[in-house]
């Protein structure tokens, strides 16, 4: 029971900030490298004028989520990948940054960097979860 709680805690911490789940499991080097790489990708993406996509409907009802998925499937997928970097996603909604600059020639590159950072962070958080469960070293 305690192992499951620890695993869920490291998953949540890892989702919120890259590498924090590993640091909570005393894997300091690995956590540091994850944080450095993923955060660097996100910062580079933001400097390139990339966009952090957000959920566009008002409300989280199943009907609205389905509507968002079918009307804007690519935006919905981009939102899911950007959600991977939890803390920055929340901050970007609170302080309105990462709105994207379409005029920049690097807009697409930046958006890809941000989406890549989020997707990698999902894998990193799941890795921390597996380590906490004892499935991995």
């Amino acid at each position: 029971m305690e192992t499951n709680t620890k695993a869920l805690q490291s998953l949540a911490l890892g989702w919120l900030i890259p590498g924090l789940g590993h640091v909570s499991l005393k894997k300091y080097w690995r956590g540091g490298i994850f944080f450095g790489c993923i955060t660097a990708m996100l910062i580079l993406g933001l400097f390139m004028g990339g966009k952090i996509y957000s959920y566009q409907e008002e409300g989280l009802h199943l009907k609205l989520i389905f509507k968002n998925m079918t009307e804007n499937p690519l935006t919905f997928l981009a939102t899911l990948s950007d959600l991977g970097y939890g803390f920055i996603y929340i901050l970007s909604k609170l302080f309105s940054f990462g709105l994207g600059n379409l005029k920049n020639t690097t807009f697409e590159f930046g958006t890809t960097y941000i989406a890549g950072a989020g997707l990698l962070n999902y894998l990193v958080a799941l890795d921390a979860f597996d380590i906490a469960l004892g499935k991995k070293k």
């Binding site: 490298i33 993923i38 890795d127």
Partner: protein, 49 residues
């Protein structure tokens, strides 16, 4: 693109492999595959311009 590939390779190597030597080998091979794969795919797309 090269920088992006480098970051992705480092993270994936640390996730997929446990031993240091295997991590370096995996990261390097993935990096070469991503960079040269992108260049080859770029040339392939150029055929349809």
């Amino acid at each position: 693109m090269i920088l992006y590939a480098a970051f992705v390779c480092v993270v994936l190597a640390l996730i997929r492999k446990d031993e240091r030597k295997a991590q370096i080998k995996y990261a390097l091979s993935l990096f070469v595959l991503m960079v040269f794969g992108a260049i080859i795919f770029g040339w392939f797309m150029y055929l349809f311009v």
